[in-house]
Symmetry: C3
Subunit: 214 residues, 3 copies
């Protein structure tokens, strides 16, 4: 069964890690001053957002985390977090970039999580669960570490909904025999589009709104 | 050694998951309005309470979580959380049901956690530890996700005491050669009875009291 | 390759567990009254600090936690936490003991985490990451469980810096072919010295300062 042989290409995984790191550092930079996040804290949040989704996915699947398998995951995440910190100054008000990056990252981690679970022989329903956890896990880790109320629990469950829709589409396509690349891309795209549309139609960015309200 | 062959029957595990899901959703429903837990949040808390104990047990034991092994764990937990949400309206004031369910769930997760650890060759003392973590883990996860002070750390350590007493009884009986079914049932019963007696004699429901006080 | 055969001696691991347990209970005792940590809570925090670092290390490495491999880890941690509680009365104002113990514990967990990762075949960069997580993990677990802001995120990132410096030294020495005992001791010593010097020159004990400020 070729299922067992499928692995996510390293460049794709590192792309998700890099985008997550940039987004996390941009997000955390908006906080400076209010809660005394120092530069190292911002870099750490960026790194957590870059690596958290994959780490939670691998912990759930009880396999050695892919971020421990070679040096590039950590280097990419830390470098991306630094890039995010540098961009944070000029881009402070350009929230749309944060939103788009966020949508891409959720979509990528959701799709990769679901695909890896399926490839390891996990049934359809828990594979969707792993995908959702991978998609929202970085954000939950961030909120717990920063001592914020976990965003996903309040107001903005659209995160989980967007991730869930994409992961369900992925497993349904996979169940009909469509290969991982096509079904994975479809799941990624659906999640990202739902997230972006939700923002465009002002259903959301609830997380950011909530934070600014405080 | 037959130890290595013993597995908890699926129906028993799913019973614990279902009761945990109902109890978690009932508990979380009492919150609505105060902290803006939307319906999806209540469902999520119910699901976390149904699956959290088993998940923590399996993460500690470094085995693939049983909830990923087939589709029924997640379906049971989500369905139970929905049942809990439906019951929450009529039963809002019937705290005794929440208490009894809570006692049963702690007892079941404690016993299953200890038995699974023993069956995997874990020695007696850490097997009790795994049982206690499985019993109280769902509640800790819930508190962390909801941003509450972790109940077990304050006031109501009776949770851990009740779970610990049952798990110790279980490993002692097991050490005397009594099989898993009898010793597991004895451990479950002791934990549940201690929890219920604690409430009857007003030593407790400290968690709920604390929450209402806020 | 002898790498794969290297294991940390039990007595060394138990020393780290014991020092961590004493330090954690001393630290938690300073809280009594303010947040209603009962005695069982103090014992629990001590135990978490004794076992948390090793547990996080082993979860990351996806191996069965060493604390589940025999009875002595838990017995040592609980006994150490009780010793810490007994010492807390006479020593309440002797902060320097807490600081020194803290530095030793961070150094030990950092070195053991890095060595175990290297011995399991993890590359250099993620091995440093595992070491840092093992060093600061107990403290993060404690803060999350106690509902405190995670100390490492604010003000005093010197924790992570001290741990990181020691772990980097360790992997560099190891890469030059120096054996685990010498390189591990060098890494441990560097971390502990940085922590203690930071306190002596008043760069720190930021965690404690922050807590007293509340």
């Amino acid at each position: 069964m070729t299922d067992q042989l499928f692995t996510i290409p390293l460049w794709a995984d590192l792309t998700a890690v890099g985008l997550g790191g940039v987004q996390g550092a941009l997000f955390a930079s908006g906080f400076r001053g209010q809660r005394r996040l120092d530069l190292l804290g911002v870099a750490l949040i960026g790194t957590v957002m870059g690596l958290g989704g994959g780490l939670i996915r691998d912990l759930l699947l009880a396999v050695r985390p892919s971020m421990l398998s070679n040096n590039w995951y950590l280097i990419t995440a830390v470098a991306a977090a630094l890039v995010g910190m540098l961009l944070a100054g000029p881009l402070r008000r350009v929230n749309s970039l944060i939103v788009v990056l966020d949508a891409l990252v959720i979509g990528l981690f959701g799709a990769f999580g679901t695909v890896k679970a399926l490839a390891l022989g996990v049934p359809l329903v828990p594979a969707v669960f792993v995908g959702i956890c991978a998609a929202v896990g970085g954000g939950i880790l961030r909120d717990v570490i920063m001592g914020l109320p976990v965003a996903i629990m309040h107001v903005g469950s659209l995160y989980a909904v967007a991730a869930g829709a994409g992961c369900v589409l992925l497993v349904v396509l996979h169940a009909f025999g469509i290969d991982y690349i096509v079904s994975g891309f479809a799941g990624f795209a659906l999640t990202a589009v739902i997230r972006i549309l939700a923002v465009v139609f002002d259903l959301s960015l609830p997380e950011q709104r909530m934070l600014y309200r405080r």
